[in-house]
Symmetry: C2
Subunit: 347 residues, 2 copies
Amino acid sequence: MELSERKIKILQAVIRNYLETGEPVGSRTISKYTDLNLSSATIRNEMSDLEEMGYIIQPHTSAGRIPTDKGYRLYVDNMMSEKIAELDEREKALTEREDILIEKVDKVETLLKNMAKMLATDTNYAAMVTTPKHKGSKIKFIQISALGENQLLCVVVSEGNLISNKIIEVEGIDNEELLKLNMLINTNLAGLTLEEINLALIQKMAKAAGENATLVDEVINAVTDAIKVNDDLEIYTSGATNIFKYPELSDTERASGFLSAFEEKNSLANLINEEDSDTGIQVYIGNETPIQNMKDCSVVTATYELDDGIKGTIGVIGPRRMDYEKVVETLRVVKKQLADSFRKKDD
Amino acid sequence: MELSERKIKILQAVIRNYLETGEPVGSRTISKYTDLNLSSATIRNEMSDLEEMGYIIQPHTSAGRIPTDKGYRLYVDNMMSEKIAELDEREKALTEREDILIEKVDKVETLLKNMAKMLATDTNYAAMVTTPKHKGSKIKFIQISALGENQLLCVVVSEGNLISNKIIEVEGIDNEELLKLNMLINTNLAGLTLEEINLALIQKMAKAAGENATLVDEVINAVTDAIKVNDDLEIYTSGATNIFKYPELSDTERASGFLSAFEEKNSLANLINEEDSDTGIQVYIGNETPIQNMKDCSVVTATYELDDGIKGTIGVIGPRRMDYEKVVETLRVVKKQLADSFRKKDD
DNA sequence: GTTAGCACTCAAACAACTCGAGTGCTAATA
DNA sequence: TATTAGCACTCGAGTTGTTTGAGTGCTAAC
């Protein structure tokens, strides 16, 4: 069977209506809702066809129709973007709010947390934001300083100005040694990635350090440890309880499952998908989602990218009948802003 | 009316039984449950009395009794600690597990997160852990280093070895100046609390810095900013979804309310109570809890204290019919362990 | 091809009924 | 006087039956 122009319009109407109400949509509603000027009977025939083609389904015999995953997919892929004007305005408003957000915050962690929160309040769905992941990020600068008698503070700054630190215990060290150590460490390690610190290099440095060889060893360990922390993927979430705004997700079992998955950050990591579409935005509908407990949800993720291949993910998770247009647009904006804001910090 | 020995035993039996089952407890059950060797009829009379006194209540006419807040309160205050032997063992097991936990982790944040998670899995309730709050914590050491052309990295270590850092933009500075600056900053600020950095001191330092006065200003700002971050109270939570294990909290409305409150860390801050009982453990039962949305829950909090008056809070939130004994004991252990683990880090 | 009309279906809401756990009271008992 | 057996009574929970109305599919007319 062919998907006629008219069928498309009807499908669109069914979906739009269902997105709003969450109730199965009947033929009479469509007959009034659209400008097709068709009677409910005609609509019924068309809907019957659409059901046969797998785009909509009846929850039970005497009910209206609701979209299937296939229906949503068609909608998302082909029928969405129309209200451009409205979105432009939205984008402006969002951008402004975020600018404020970013100005006020100088800790990456706080920035991302706020971003997640804003995303959640803005969309009324659950939101997640991951830290930008530095794949093989380079060491920029290392500073070792004495901290009391037997402790050294080791600060590592890596590309993107991510700072990490570690305290190591040592047996007394005087200032001159410290200076040498700093020099040695910096000249040898700056510019390298974690992977490039190999045994040969470590031995070379130990040799150069002479009697302080063991110390160098410890410091190198501290440095790699410290940098590893930055490689840790953190996921910030917000708005989990928004799901209670959608009755179809609010029953105890579903809610419990969803919230468990959402609390367990590990499972959220499954949503991170590097092979992106050209727009960098991915939409998973219902059963397409990689997380078992979210089969009744839809997930939209976007990858934000800093200059140098450093990537992070932002995502919104809501009911199948999520306002895809709004979510996609919001993510597009946030994605851009996030990238910009990091670039700003790097200057 | 007098609370006879027998009434106490019956009340205790009612509570114990209710804690386990969550179902109203009938007279016949008690008659078998206890070693009082009384018929259900007698128990009925006693229970009727207990109800009149306000310790238990009937949800409806033909149901068994459940404890009131007053009943729980009596139980918690006077009738609890009995199974000491068992707990000793528990303590050992817990302690071991935590030791492992602590060894493997060197980032405070991760430690606390893990702690919360453990607390939650262990008790099957929701758990929270706050960062230790450094009231007027002293600056221990400041290190300023050049980071590229126009940036300075400013690392502040404060008491308890909490490290914070900030990057500041400057107009070129050479090494010698930097050395002087470090000296100046350290001699003047080390040992002070945030409050002690006043205008007079700043002016004095600016004067000493001569042409670098504005720079000193900026650095001081960075230092205070950096230290403020540590003063921020972070609250880590875990196990929110455990509430779905208790049917009386699982209906949509209650769950939604609870989870919202739990997600909103601000509201959890209300649970932090500095005026502690002698044990440092606080029990809030039902309506006693300071958080509106948790009226159907009970909350047990404990304050852990590091050597120097630095305090944090850990807490467990569950249904009214929570296993108070177990929770109090667990908190007692974790409290101790947490304090120890920080002390270890400080050496 | 479209539409009006009508019989049919089925979930949701409501009412009626049953069942049983548990009570309170009374009268008998130790 | 305290305890207990016995019994009538209460009421929530679960079950069944009924009603209602939204919505369908089909047919015949336009």
